[in-house]
Symmetry: C2
Subunit: 232 residues, 2 copies
DNA sequence: CCGTATCCAATAAGATACTG
DNA sequence: CAGTATCTTATTGGATACGG
């Protein structure tokens, strides 16, 4: 029988490190492993359970998810917590520092939006599309709007507040109920993506409340021009 | 003998893709493979040769560098070019879109600067430390300065222009010679890092020209407070 | 000097089955 | 549901060897 195997990953250090004092390289040591940043992204709008994460990260396997969560926790980016009684279920939530990684997610998303190889028909999680609204909103187009927009993605409800050209997004809650929204979208996130980013008609998604507002909402997130084959 | 092996990587598509319409995930498909973003970082201040890249990326092996460069080229981020006669050497340079990835490098670096695990004594490349100046400059501290600072890292010369609290960095050239600088640092990039980020005395590096200016320059890049063990 | 090709060992990721 | 355990495959890194 082998002795206990104490891997460095168990203590949060990547096994394969870049020996580089550059901050960018160190960031990649922390969140550069496959899936790590996408796991963190899924936690940007609040705590989630293991199985939610597995569902929203298409293709991740349970053992890799376990490993990534353990590493992120050991590195101080994620915390494992139990919800208060009577639920007592385990959830993973981003720490304050973990949430500070959002600019990374945004800069990656904004940059990739110009990619000619981007396939918008692939599945997308609710958290992803809501974060993309934060990234892509056109302040000029949103200027005159002051409204609350709700989203119902399966069991997960979110509320966005648009005001002064900016958008804030959070889970729906007692303080921010869907019922307080001027318009509410429902359906799978990929359908909403097809409408907002794919120019598909609004009736691909369910809409309740102010339909004209909902229609206008879908036009607030213009995509930048694609780059050509020569990278310009 | 096997038939020709046409890998998808040879056409620039990652073999292991995230099936996710999210822009962040797509960005990771493009530059998320090991070393890819660091290779691109090394090209941010101008074209470089294969061997320069290999030297400045400690630990990368020649075959991995070849592969990453080929993928980056196929994806439109990097172009391979021959310098004009009489040199005729091959160099790799970032395309316009590749250069647009700099905000990604910056957001990663800024975020990782708060990491308690960051080890500033590791080696660092000239490009890295100059890019870090762009990322970390404190506009308030740099407010009153209008100066040109030169850097001589081995065979590579760079010139930084500080003005109105901002810094611009470029390779030295006929138009921007080191001789036109108010102060010039020389020595290995890691020594400069020790002075600027490690609080070490100025005489770890060579300085010519206005020594007081050089001293002041080293104080323009304050590091943010480290996060605690609980991620706050 | 500038890479490319090949081979090998170590590690990471993926698939699947399984347990409390 | 929330993960582990196990097995297989893919990728990486290191060492060379080799061609222009």
């Amino acid at each position: 029988m082998e002795l206990e195997k104490i891997t460095s990953a168990g203590r949060g250090e990547p096994k394969r490190r870049y020996d580089d004092a550059c901050g960018t390289a160190h960031a990649l040591d922390l969140i550069g492993e496959r899936w790590a940043l996408l796991v963190l992204r899924e936690l940007m709008l609040g705590p989630r359970r293991f199985t939610d994460l597995k569902v929203d990260l298409p293709g991740i396997s349970a053992n890799v998810l376990t490993q990534r969560l353990g590493e992120l926790e050991a590195r101080g980016l994620v915390r494992r917590r139990f919800l208060p009684s009577p639920t007592r279920v385990a959830v993973y939530e981003a720490t304050a520092w973990g949430l500070e990684a959002e600019p990374i997610v945004q800069s990656l998303g904004r940059w990739a939006a110009r990619s000619p190889a981007h396939d918008p028909t692939l599945p997308i999680s609710g958290v992803s599309i809501l974060l993309s609204f934060r990234t892509m909103i056109d302040a000029r187009r949103a200027k005159g709007i002051d409204a609350r927009i709700g989203f119902r993605f399966g069991h997960d409800d979110y509320v966005a507040r648009i005001k002064k050209g900016a958008i804030k997004v959070a889970r729906a809650s007692e303080a921010r109920p869907l019922s307080g929204c001027d318009a509410v979208f429902s359906g799978p996130p990929s359908a909403l993506a097809a409408v907002v980013y794919g120019g598909q008609p609004l009736d691909l998604v369910g809409v309740t409340g102010d339909r004209a507002l909902a229609q206008r909402f879908t036009t607030l997130f213009p995509l930048p021009p694609k780059v050509g084959a020569d990278g310009h």
